[in-house]
Symmetry: C2
Subunit: 492 residues, 2 copies
Amino acid sequence: MRKFPGMMAVALLAWPVGLLQAQSGRQAADAAAAYTTAHRAELTAGFERLLAMPNVAADPAGLQANAQYLLAALKARGASAQLLTVPGAPAVVYGELRRPGATHTIVFYAHYDGQPVTASEWTTPPFQPTLKTVDGEQRVFARSAGDDKAAIFAQLTALDALRAAGMEPQANLRFVWEGEEEAGSPHLEQILMAHRDLVHGDVWLICDGPVDQSGRQTVVFGARGDTGLEITVYGPQHGLHSGHYGNWAPNPAMMLAQLLAAMEDADGHVLIPHFYDGIAPLSALEKQALADAPDNEAMLRRKFWLGRTDGGGRHLLELLNLPSLNINGMAAAQVGARATNVIPAMAVADLDLRLVVGEDWRVQQQRVVDFIASRGYFVTDHEPTQAERTGHARVAWVKREGNSYNAVRTPMDLPMAQEVIAAVKAARGQVVLLPTMGGSVPLGAMERAAKTRTVTVPIANFDDNQHTANENLRLQNLWNGVGTMAALETMP
Amino acid sequence: MRKFPGMMAVALLAWPVGLLQAQSGRQAADAAAAYTTAHRAELTAGFERLLAMPNVAADPAGLQANAQYLLAALKARGASAQLLTVPGAPAVVYGELRRPGATHTIVFYAHYDGQPVTASEWTTPPFQPTLKTVDGEQRVFARSAGDDKAAIFAQLTALDALRAAGMEPQANLRFVWEGEEEAGSPHLEQILMAHRDLVHGDVWLICDGPVDQSGRQTVVFGARGDTGLEITVYGPQHGLHSGHYGNWAPNPAMMLAQLLAAMEDADGHVLIPHFYDGIAPLSALEKQALADAPDNEAMLRRKFWLGRTDGGGRHLLELLNLPSLNINGMAAAQVGARATNVIPAMAVADLDLRLVVGEDWRVQQQRVVDFIASRGYFVTDHEPTQAERTGHARVAWVKREGNSYNAVRTPMDLPMAQEVIAAVKAARGQVVLLPTMGGSVPLGAMERAAKTRTVTVPIANFDDNQHTANENLRLQNLWNGVGTMAALETMP
């Protein structure tokens, strides 16, 4: 990864932090609160219109409709806007509001695509936004309600609120809204590199992910990297009767269970050799931030019905600063009413690997592959042939996720980092500072292509069911988010 | 299990074995061969008509249509036939051909129901019988082609062949065709007990399962028992983002993998305490039969693309005389294109347990449950509540299969066993004798209710894909099977 350019660091050091900004941040947040209170019904309906537009990777036409809708929304607010495209990828929606005489440029990143949906798992249809009361508060249920259309809607609404209050941005504002973040952002770097002048900024504000579980506004200075592997292990060429061949024909579900089981101890510690090698240690400031963060452990365990947690008693926020190995899904033959007495022909597991600063995703993938081989497997990168399956005691087909990226962490003591903290504090009061988000955003690609550093300012509630069924946003988080965005949109 | 009644043993000892029977068996098989050769096209079409009738447990109307069709087939051949029913269960199709002056009664058992189908996994639709050439020989592909409509069709056709040759049965013949064998025969014993006089016989011939993999006709003297368990283990109350909670929220797929992995060593030997306790040893005659059986190991490994087998190098036929534990299916969240980066809420495994003589299925289930508990799980017999999940580090919901039964083995040196061997040898020449079939048939219920002993005479090819997609029957096995049935139908 490229180093942070020295020239820009000088520019950032010269950036004033002070009373003026705190005042403008506070005024902007007040303007946002007045505006969202006055227009609540209309804003809720507008958010629902955005959520009703299907936005999954399997539906390119749906993604395009979202992009056109957002392009129009930017133009309606006076932005110079366009779609940044490369063949075969959803467009990046781009807009700019130039401020004559501005000395800084602030870029707001968010994404308009959503995770795939399994509609049968949803209580209400994923693209039919539905208001429900949860713990006495209103939430809207729909795919991308929290991840990540809330951020886009808050950025747009903050512009409206500022205009309604007669306030104007001080810096040039740029908006970069991606359309394939949930697919691993395979084309983002390419699109940004093709438009470096457009997307460059003094800082990129990543508006994605949830705030701290305590509900307090959060500023995050990095994100874990992400990669993955799909592992298929093989039994007989086709399913065999479990009576006539049970005890003799190897069962691939059992083989997969034994392979996966050996990857972790009972406490979730990964046993794959070198898995934790090379991790960059936390700075004193980062450790202090973790120590200052709210202790949400007991509340989270209750909320998620957990009788224990992994990690040997360490707190969630500490564990998010370590790499992880997660089984996203596992399958062999059928369970439930469709189960039959069969020795399955194969068994599959989908693994997610999160990385922290100091690790490389290709190396981490290879560590897992080496481990599989060390367990006696002949590992292929293609569907194994009859000869390969007959010729080896154990065969695993490993598909390596290519749309992967490394972790990024911006030092909290960089001047621009301090600026963002000041603006958010002005708007929201007490703020939780975290070195790393557990989830992943392709920060490295952004930093390389836009020649900038990133700071993440999420607005969604932590319990928004993002990436699963019944995703939702607590509406109060949307109104708070408009205030936070208004403060950031009026940074000097 | 009740003892075999002494009176009947005396009757069997008095049953003549000799030249007369060998002649009639040979003549019957010759008559069958002449008949099936002369009517091949018509018989193939007739078999396809039977296979085209859907016969899965989820379709009671389909099962009833099968029963009516078979009832008519028995009546058309002069049998006194009826449906034996209890509420809520598919009927047993019953028929009798009385022979005036007969001193013995022979009962032919088969089943007309089939395993569930997952149509998408089939090359051609499961209830659209399709002829295909495999290794230069014709096979018909359809659910139940091998398991177990072939046996029913062979029994009916053998009657037609005998009549065409002017031959008649010597004993009373009874036909008992069950409709819920694939569901574990939950009502069979009840139905038989309600009609004990109808279903009693000097011997029950179980016409189900495949012949030896060498292709030779097989006579089997028992079957493994069968039971099962479904295990669900729990993670968070709903799926959680694998980034924001990975390393902290326990992953139920990993928990299940570790639980299952601990049940067996890498060679398939079950590690659950007492799993192999109480097994009745094989007799000298049974051990000799195993030693005389063909060695099909290398052929089977090639055919099934296996680079190794479980069991430490022991042969399949030896391993089938041991209990087994098989993972029928395993599932957590999604794999493939629908996988998301999620910590699943639960993970499920469906286990099949086969038993041998000397073991009780309830005890074997309990051994597995005790093992799960010994791994730190709180085991429930119901979907665990929030309080149960929050209050225990590990929770497993275990559903115990109720439709289960124990293994049965008829000694090969019983006179009636020797009679059956003589008839089959007369028809088919060299015969493979096996103490135990790997698969399961509810022999115990039959023996208790009908006060008889059982001998199994299968006719299907071993590679018939029973219990999975693309089930098929090699047509030559059907023609051979008609000969075998004709010889058995003319036993004295």
